[in-house]
Symmetry: C2
Subunit: 150 residues, 2 copies
């Protein structure tokens, strides 16, 4: 699994996927991490969702999006995220609110090994659209081969 301890903003081995260390401020009143749309968040934010109380044995995601951009931040506990561009597969542990994983369209994404207290925040570039999902890995590879993700 890739070491994320020294990341500021870094490419990964997976096409288009980047790891970001979000800006933060700490004082006696606690910690604050932040991001602005089209800046630390590399797209306009049209939706957010929060995933929590995931049994540690469960696997989530297991799909790609044709057009959706997402930024994943585990704001409590930790979980592992696998990203796969059809050629390279890489796994990251999101274990701090300052660590964000940007997942562009046409990347297969799987989340697993949630701790019982894990809370995954996802910022997304568009409203929910069932037609934007590719839920079958062979179909994902086929769409990549045909270049018809977008």
């Amino acid at each position: 699994m890739s070491d994320t301890s020294e990341i500021r903003r870094a490419a990964t081995q997976v096409g288009g996927v980047t790891l970001h260390r979000l800006p933060s401020a700490a004082d006696a009143r606690g910690l604050l991490v932040y991001g602005e749309a089209l800046k630390e968040v590399p797209f306009a934010v049209e939706r957010f969702f929060v995933v929590y109380r995931v049994p540690g044995t469960e696997v989530r995601g297991e799909h790609a999006h044709r057009k959706l951009h997402q930024l994943l931040v585990c704001v409590h506990g930790h979980c592992n995220v696998i990203v796969d561009d059809g050629l390279v597969r890489e796994e990251f542990r999101l274990d701090d609110p300052t660590l964000a994983l940007y997942v562009p369209p046409m990347v297969w994404c799987v989340q697993h090994q949630y701790t019982s207290d894990a809370v995954l925040l996802v910022l997304a570039s568009a409203a929910y659209d069932a037609d934007d999902y590719i839920r079958n890995y062979p179909e994902f590879l086929q769409a990549l081969a045909e270049g018809n993700g977008a």
Copy 2:
């Protein structure tokens, strides 16, 4: 403190402040709560921040914004939020990721009684702007009296 157990979307006693029960989906793989900009989130999302590891004795906020709209969601643990429009003051406990508090401009807002594991997600309608803050309560009342929040 106001009872929030039966809220879907409700006005509060404080001008413009509303409580929202965000849509959610539960299955064997855990829980998911979501919101779309200009829908469940009543503004365009230009920024997010996350507050965490706040000592239980600490008080955060204690300011109003001239123009900023915010949606507060405590996605882990819980904290209390006091809102005050200069006439009425009301306190809410945010204790579930499905419960969101919308705070419009020109409302004095204080957060306190964070549990040690509390994580407060705030979605905001604009980039950070130091000039948008009113950090002094008498000045807040004066700005209200002059109608010059916006």
